[in-house]
């Protein structure tokens, strides 16, 4: 605890922590819509496409001025989104190809501009490379105001257009048929994603930004079927990953913040995929196991009823081996225990035989008859 307090006493750590948590919350909130609209990789393309904008901003401002760099990144990001739309709407190329084209070509132009700047700009442009991988320590307290402002703006828009965004995310055709300006709404969502990316570049860099958009949303999706809960949860997961990543990287020398944040978010995704109720892998495996047990138990009842009918004895004591033969393989004792627990069968002695025997109870006969009636011809 004292170690934590010591960490937090540093101004830089506090700034990075706040910034990472803010960014995680913004990206998580907007990422939820991107993931639902199957546009997860748009964030990847836009992040790469921001590189030429960063260089352009630097070129025009002539110095490492954050405002113009962010404006440049936002401009080329939005341009990339437009080009993407143009390619998918006017050609036979599929979305993946359009994404790949935009991502790689914009990035290539960015590389060209970057080398041009490095050749002419000298040392001043060295900081530009930090946009590739992010450099959390370079965040200034004043940058937090920009991030906070962007976050507040995004939050206001999402709240104001909640119903519209919801509709566009789940059923754009229905939205269009009802006269909603779907293209404009999708455009706003895309621009908001570009905004989140621009804000996050400094912190986590071009390559890892996409994870911050997708991972919290993918994790949140596993826990709920409600959009409001998902968006809130996604923002919380994003903020927690950001804060956790900032703390871990501050407490260990030489660990960059971006990768740690991404790995924490990924770990949350893995836990969610495994454990989430209803959807999680473990949950589904347990449900499948339960379903198989139900079926085996029903077959045991049916087999016992069949034996009773064949011997014209409602309380015919069925022998374990006979039931195994009827089912094709020996059922596990837990199935008998479960049937006993539900009061459908009871164990009986059948001397001189020493093997276990069971007979149907009244409830068991009723259940077997009901099942036979339900499943019979």
């Amino acid at each position: 605890m004292s170690a934590l307090a010591e960490l937090l006493s540093s101004q830089i750590v506090r700034t990075v922590l706040t910034g990472a948590a803010l960014l995680g919350a913004i990206a998580g909130m907007l990422g939820a819509f991107a993931v639902l609209r199957r546009q997860s990789l748009l964030g990847d393309a836009l992040a790469h496409a921001a590189l030429p904008g960063v260089c352009l901003g630097f070129l025009i401002a002539g110095a490492r001025d954050l405002g113009s760099i962010l404006a440049g990144a936002f401009f080329t990001g939005a341009l990339a989104a437009l080009v993407m739309m143009l390619i998918t709407r006017t050609t036979r190329l599929k979305t993946d190809a359009a994404l790949g084209i935009v991502l790689s070509v914009f990035f290539a132009v960015g590389v060209v501009l970057l080398t041009h700047l490095q050749a002419t700009g000298g040392a001043a442009s060295a900081g530009l490379a930090s946009f590739l991988f992010g450099q959390a320590a370079a965040i200034l307290p004043s940058d937090l105001w920009i991030m906070g402002g962007a976050g507040l703006g995004a939050l206001t828009l999402v709240l104001a257009f909640w119903k519209e965004f919801k509709l566009v995310s789940f059923d754009p055709d229905f939205a269009r048929a009802n006269g909603f300006p779907v293209t404009a709404l999708e455009g706003v969502l895309t621009i908001l994603v570009a905004l989140a990316i621009v804000v996050g570049l400094q912190l986590v860099g071009v390559v890892l930004m996409v994870a911050l958009l997708i991972a919290p949303a993918a994790a949140a999706r596993q826990w709920t079927d409600r959009l409001s809960v998902m968006v809130l949860l996604s923002a919380l997961i994003g903020a927690a990953s950001g804060a956790g990543g900032a703390l871990v990287s501050a407490s260990m020398r030489g660990l960059a913040t971006g990768p740690v944040v991404v790995l924490i978010a990924t770990a949350i995704v893995i836990v969610s995929l495994l454990l989430a109720p209803q959807r999680g892998v473990v949950w589904q495996a347990l449900a499948a196991r339960r379903a198989r047990a139900r079926i085996t138990e029903a077959r045991i009842l049916a087999a016992m009823q069949g034996l009773s009918a064949a011997h014209e004895d409602a309380r015919y004591p069925s022998e374990q081996g006979m039931l195994a033969a009827a089912l094709g393989k020996a059922p596990s004792p837990r199935h008998f225990a479960e049937l006993e627990r539900r009061g459908l069968i009871r164990p009986v002695e059948h001397p001189p035989e020493t093997t276990p025997h069971w007979e149907l109870t009244r409830a068991g006969r009723a259940e077997a008859a009901a099942r036979a009636g339900r499943e019979g011809p």
């Binding site: 997860s40 990789l41 790689s104 070509v105 390559v207 994870a211 660990l255 991404v262």
Partner: protein, 379 residues
């Protein structure tokens, strides 16, 4: 002569670029057709993870071991992504975006923890250093040849052999995977074979052009070729030719402007794409706009013929069968009316009679065709 070629730095840089471009375009054509282009993005980012893990295990940065390690990481990415997508807990796009950043981040952390002093600059991982390929050579038949050229030459040969040997199967699997599976051609195996080769090619190329620019060589030339032709062999050949052209022109421009060579080569593939997008015959944006315009004039022309036919020999004829009526009653703009009249005149559908627009015999026949015989009989 041969020695001079292999000792010439520009020739080696160009050859490296061309080999990357040709190898990428060969495989990329099938990835673009199958809609798997973004898997290239995932693969090329995660090989960073493979290279660092191979280095931690063997302490080798060049040679076959890191190559295999990185290629395995690429394949692992694909396997993980597809397993995640098959679980139906997340969709394919999200699965891609979850797996490769995680591996990339893990690679970055491993580098910063264990490999600070090793020559693995994260920056060169993304950007490549094609300008320095000639520094690292190996002797072949007593002739020093850049290692990158040897590796990439071998990779290109394998890719070419694969594509030629499985041409029919690849074609079928790209256009109709269902049929390919039904006929026993194992499209799934082919799919993984292509992605494994992509992974190997990415590893061989990343020293030269970096992880991100490699994507440009795999996706953009095939996508450009896809806009220009409908035949598969022409698409593949065109894709290879376009990437070769991008390398040559890109290299020349990079020298002229003193900027990143690989970046300029990749940018040129984007220029070819932009040109094809705008100017492709039949399907380019310009051709589409012209087609739309032509179709609109043709449609207006038919509307004009119908309009004249309806009012012909009626009391309103003097008022209706004029150019001003088209503007006033049909709500057309003056240039639109003018274009329609000119077109109808060119096709000899209308003529000028007593200062009015009137149908010619051919125009009359066209109008009857529009309204059908019933309308003709009713008159």
């Amino acid at each position: 002569m041969i020695a001079a070629f292999f000792e010439s730095i520009p020739a080696m840089i160009l050859l490296t670029g061309c080999l990357v471009g040709a190898s990428g375009a060969l495989l990329g054509s099938f990835l673009v057709l199958r809609g798997n282009a973004m898997l290239t993005d995932a693969i090329s980012h995660s090989i960073v993870f493979g290279i660092i893990v191979a280095w931690l295990l063997t302490r080798q940065l060049s040679g076959p071991v890191p190559l295999i390690g990185a290629a395995l990481a690429g394949v692992l990415t694909v396997v993980l992504t597809e397993a995640l997508a098959r679980s139906r807990l997340v969709r394919m796009d999200a699965a891609i975006g979850l797996v490769f950043p995680a591996l990339f981040a893990a690679g970055g952390i491993l580098i910063s923890l264990y490999a600070r002093d090793v020559h693995i600059h994260a920056e060169s991982v993304l950007l490549g250093e094609i300008g320095f390929v000639w520094l690292n050579t190996v002797a072949i038949l007593g002739q020093p040849v850049p290692v990158a050229v040897v590796t990439l030459g071998a990779v290109f040969a394998v890719n070419l052999a694969f594509v030629l040997a499985f041409w029919k199967e690849l074609k079928l699997a790209s256009f109709d995977p269902g049929l390919a599976a039904a006929l026993g051609f194992l499209p799934g195996v082919l799919h993984y074979a292509i992605l494994t080769l992509t992974s190997v090619t990415a590893v061989a190329a990343f020293d030269a052009v970096g992880a991100v620019l490699f994507i440009a060589f795999v996706i953009v030339p095939p996508a450009t070729a896809y806009l220009l032709t409908r035949r598969l062999w022409r698409m593949v050949a065109l894709a290879v030719a376009l990437s070769l052209a991008a390398c040559v022109v890109g290299y020349a421009l990079a020298l002229r402007w003193n900027v990143s060579i690989a970046g300029m080569m990749a940018s040129m593939t984007g220029v070819w794409f932009a040109i094809a997008l705008l100017a492709a015959p039949e399907r380019g944006l310009v051709a589409q706009a012209l087609q739309r315009r032509r179709a609109r004039v043709e449609h207006d022309c038919r509307a004009l013929v119908a309009h004249l036919f309806t009012h012909q020999d009626s009391p309103e004829m003097a008022e209706e069968n004029t150019r001003s009526a088209l503007v006033a009653h049909l709500g057309w703009t003056a240039p639109r009316a003018r274009a329609a009249i000119l077109r109808a005149h060119d096709r000899a559908l209308i003529e000028r009679r007593d200062g009015l627009l009137a149908l010619s015999a051919k125009g009359e026949a066209e109008a009857r065709a529009i309204f059908g015989t019933a309308a003709g009989l009713a008159r």
